[in-house]
């Protein structure tokens, strides 16, 4: 067997470590002829080789020439050490490339410097015609997961996910525990259990994962185009807007509540009603009120012994419900989220917006009901009788619900405070409307 040992751009350390008794004795005992090894003066550099051990990375045109020449004259080419396999320490400068970037490499011997025992082992196997397993590159075949989990309402696109974990955290805080990490390292992805569709995996469809995702990897179905079409055709005439949705929209777009009403009118709604489904409730003694279908699902799952009442919005035909909660879209109601409305409003010309009052207000601000923010808090409160308890699981309440509009402010505490202020303005406006 004829071998060549040579170096491209590098420190020569791998070759230098081969200049030793056990290695040279091994070559002699196997009858391996070192045809070319300039470091120690074997200079016959033009013939053909059975095995070429190449150290160093490709930086210059000369490196490339030498590499291509030796590749064409060698049966087996071995990348020797970190520079040859990966580009080496000088790859930090950005212009050093591994051998495999240019030619076919048969075996990779890793290490900085290479482990002499591994070189011996490989040459031993090659010289005896045995199969050698030094070929696999550990990171070559790994790609970012691109799994898509969808069920028609919520969709998680793995190719956009940056695995920040915000959706996982908020899903846990709500108590749904649907999303979690899967696999490790570069293969980490965010999935539902077994990658099942959301609704099947126990999702309560609150939509918070979509609201909190900074990369747009989680999204939900948008129905706003149908609504705008309905407005153009005349099949839709009125908007029933949750007070929280209206206040959030005002905050996110920097408008007054009256301007938001004007914007809705500009979109084509003839009647704008501020509408709180809680106003539909009768007596609530001995029941826990679920603020939305999301809470209803949670309560049925975790507190099945509790009597739950879900106030169903009474939306007349020809009206659309504008809500802060995605889950209403899943129960056969014609509904859009505040976020969807935000997308439509942004197409309008803001400076021309006047101020208008809502046509009607079906909302009793500050009704005598206690709001609880989580299942734990609810469990603690249940001991004292559950009359008038309303469960709102979204952190921060409905003002920060899953269907909320996107806000330019990054501090959620501040967002909440501003939206509360807008809600109070809206309450005042509501009482004026009611008086007139």
């Amino acid at each position: 067997m004829r071998i060549a040992i040579l170096g491209l751009s590098g420190c020569d350390g791998c070759q230098y470590n081969l200049v030793r008794e056990d290695f040279l004795n091994f070559l002699r005992s196997r009858g391996i002829e070192v045809a070319y090894w300039p470091l120690v003066g074997a200079e016959e550099g033009s013939g053909e080789y059975d095995v070429a051990l190449v150290e160093g990375s490709v930086i210059s045109g000369r490196d490339l020439e030498v590499l291509k020449s030796v590749r064409s004259r060698s049966r087996v080419l071995v990348a020797l050490g970190a520079c040859a396999t990966l580009g080496g320490v000088q790859a930090g400068l950005g212009f050093s490339r591994s051998l495999a970037s240019y030619v076919r490499v048969d075996y990779y011997l890793r290490g900085c410097p290479v482990e002499v025992g591994e070189v011996l082992d490989l040459l031993d196997k090659l010289s005896r015609g045995l199969p050698a397993k030094f070929g696999e590159r550990r990171f070559d075949h790994v790609e970012r997961p691109t799994r898509v989990i969808a069920d028609g309402l919520i969709e998680l696109d793995g190719s956009k996910c940056i695995t920040c974990g915000r959706c996982i955290e908020v899903c846990r805080r709500v108590g749904a525990h649907v999303l979690n990490y899967f696999r490790r390292g570069i293969e980490t992805e965010v999935v539902t259990p077994y990658g099942e569709p959301f609704s099947k995996a126990g999702c309560v469809l609150c939509g918070l994962c979509a609201a909190y995702c900074p990369a747009g990897a989680v999204s939900y179905r948008l129905d706003i185009e149908e609504v705008l079409q309905g407005l153009r055709e005349g099949s839709l005439v009125s908007a029933y807007v949750e007070p929280e949705a209206l206040a959030s929209l005002a905050e996110s777009e920097g408008l007054t509540p009256q301007q938001v009403v004007a914007a809705l009118k500009a979109l084509g709604f003839r009647y704008v009603v501020v509408y709180d489904p809680l106003s539909e409730l009768g007596r609530v003694d001995g029941v826990v009120v679920a603020r939305s279908p999301a809470e209803e699902r949670l309560l049925r799952r975790y507190l099945p012994e509790v009597r739950v009442e879900l106030p169903r919005p009474a939306i007349p035909p020809g009206a659309v419900y504008v809500t802060q909660c995605l889950s209403w879209k899943a129960v056969g109601l014609r509904a859009i989220t505040a976020r969807e409305l935000q997308l439509a409003i942004r197409r309008l010309n803001y400076p021309t917006l006047g101020e208008e009052r809502p046509d009607s207000v079906l909302w009793v601000p500050g009704a005598a009901m206690r709001r609880v923010g989580s299942l734990d808090e609810l469990r603690r409160s249940l001991g004292g009788g559950c009359g008038g308890l309303v469960l709102e699981v979204c952190p921060g309440g409905c003002l920060l619900g899953g269907g909320q509009p996107l806000t330019p402010c990054t501090d959620l505490g501040e967002v909440l405070a501003r939206r509360r202020a807008r809600l109070e303005e809206l309450a005042k406006l509501g009482s004026e409307v009611a008086r007139s």
């Binding site: 170096g7 491209l8 751009s9 590098g10 420190c11 020569d12 350390g13 791998c14 070759q15 230098y16 470590n17 200049v19 030793r20 008794e21 056990d22 040279l24 300039p38 470091l39 120690v40 003066g41 200079e43 160093g56 930086i59 210059s60 000369r62 490196d63 080496g88 320490v89 000088q90 930090g92 400068l93 050093s96 900085c112 410097p113």
Partner: protein, 416 residues
């Protein structure tokens, strides 16, 4: 004379690949020596790094003398960060550096130099000696610091692997075994008939204490030159060891206070071993080929010194630590690498990142002197009527005598 002699050779049997071009024309000669490999700009690589990472990067400049680069960069950064290395730790570092020095010399002399001077049979006989010596030296190195290339057992101001009496004794035992072979090799080298060459620029520089210490503990560093002693500090090293860019080559070359000079084993012996016989000293001072002799003398002396030092260190309890002093923000590290003086300079920003790096390697320092010697040699041989092949053979042997290390060419030169 109208005929011109032109030699352009890629020189093998040196670390890295390099080209020497010699032109002899009309009684005048010119030589240029340059790397044919791409230069890897390590100074740029260290910028923005944390100081603790830098020695591991710096040691990868050269796989042959990576310990020297490790120590020079550590020394510079320790001063920048205010780490004061304790006496025992400094002794261990010196032992490791000197061990690599011996190992480098032995392999260079026995495998790379000898083929120029002896028959194939004698070379093979000596190659066996060399390889035997080399395995014991590698074992000694492994006992102390893990491995030859790119050490991982050290860090700034401390050792990462335990070194106790057991390791020191083992290293001393291996060295005693190696001594027999090193002595035989050294004798063979000193018995060689080296070509005659009058040194065209007999100026040299080495650490004044090089005989006892190759890795000092801090600056300013006292250097011995034929004109007397120079104190090297970070303020003056750029003017004392001035680097100039040559028109014709991509490596940098260096002058000592305006003059070409050499570093390495020959410079170290001239600077520190005035006790050697006068005849040897005269040869060392006047013939560049005698660097081969110098390496042979130095290798054997170093083995003896190492056995003694290791014996002393293993006989008592060691305190292998360092204390904290005043951070200076920048530092200069100067050590004796196998091929000569090695200088590393770093400046560290207030948020603890390397801002500036400068490395002057022995090969860069030697290049100018090597070119002058090669031109002189080629001119003399051409006058004696030798043909191109013969001249080329001698000139290549001269290059090997300087023991150049091409991977150490760390700069990128921008030509305008």
């Amino acid at each position: 004379m109208s005929s011109a002699l032109r030699i352009s050779r890629e020189v093998s049997r040196v670390a890295g690949e390099s080209t020497l071009e010699v032109v002899v024309e009309g009684g005048r000669a010119r030589a240029s020596y340059s790397s044919v490999l791409s230069l890897r700009n390590f100074e740029a690589l260290t910028k923005g790094r944390r100081p603790s990472e830098v020695p591991y990067i710096a040691s990868r400049i050269c796989g042959v003398c990576s310990h020297a680069h490790f120590w020079a960069s550590s020394l510079a950064l320790e001063q920048a960060l205010g780490i004061e290395v304790g006496e025992d730790l400094a002794a261990i570092r010196d032992v490791c550096n000197r061990l690599q020095l011996v190992q480098n010399h032995v392999v260079h002399l026995g495998l790379l130099v000898l083929p120029d001077y002896v028959s194939r049979e004698r070379f093979e006989e000596h190659a066996r000696l060399t390889l035997a010596a080399n395995s014991y030296l590698l074992k000694a190195l492994n006992a102390l610091c893990g491995r030859l290339t790119n050490p991982v057992g050290y860090s700034l101001g401390r050792l990462l692997t335990p070194v106790g009496p057991r390791h020191l004794k083992a290293a001393a035992d291996y060295l005693r075994e190696a001594r027999t072979y090193v002595a035989k090799l050294s004798e063979a080298i000193l018995g060689l008939e080296l070509p005659e060459l009058e040194d065209p620029a007999p100026s040299y520089v080495a650490l004044s204490q090089a005989a006892a210490v190759t890795v000092p503990t801090g600056g300013p560093y006292s250097l011995t030159t034929p004109r007397g002693t120079v104190e090297l500090s970070e303020d003056n090293y750029r003017s004392v060891l001035h680097e100039v860019h040559a028109e014709y080559s991509n490596s940098r070359k260096c002058v000592l206070m305006g003059e070409p000079f050499f570093v390495g084993a020959r410079a170290r012996l001239l600077a520190t071993r005035r006790d050697l016989p006068a005849g040897i000293l005269r040869t060392l001072a006047t013939n560049p080929f005698s660097n081969n002799y110098a390496q042979a003398v130095e290798a054997l002396a170093a083995v003896d010194l190492l056995v003694e030092v290791l014996g002393e260190l293993s006989s008592r309890a060691l305190r292998l630590g360092s204390s904290s002093g005043t951070p200076r923000g920048s530092g200069l590290g100067v050590v004796e690498a196998p091929r000569g003086l090695l200088v590393h300079y770093y400046r560290v920003s207030r948020d603890g990142r390397v801002e500036e790096a400068d490395i002057v390697t022995p090969t860069v320092m030697n290049t100018y002197h090597l070119e002058l010697s090669a031109a002189t040699l080629a001119r003399d041989l051409a006058r004696r009527g030798l043909g191109e092949g013969e001249v080329a053979r001698y000139v290549e042997a001269l290059v090997r005598a300087y023991d150049p290390c091409i991977p150490c060419a760390v700069h990128v030169v921008i030509r305008r």
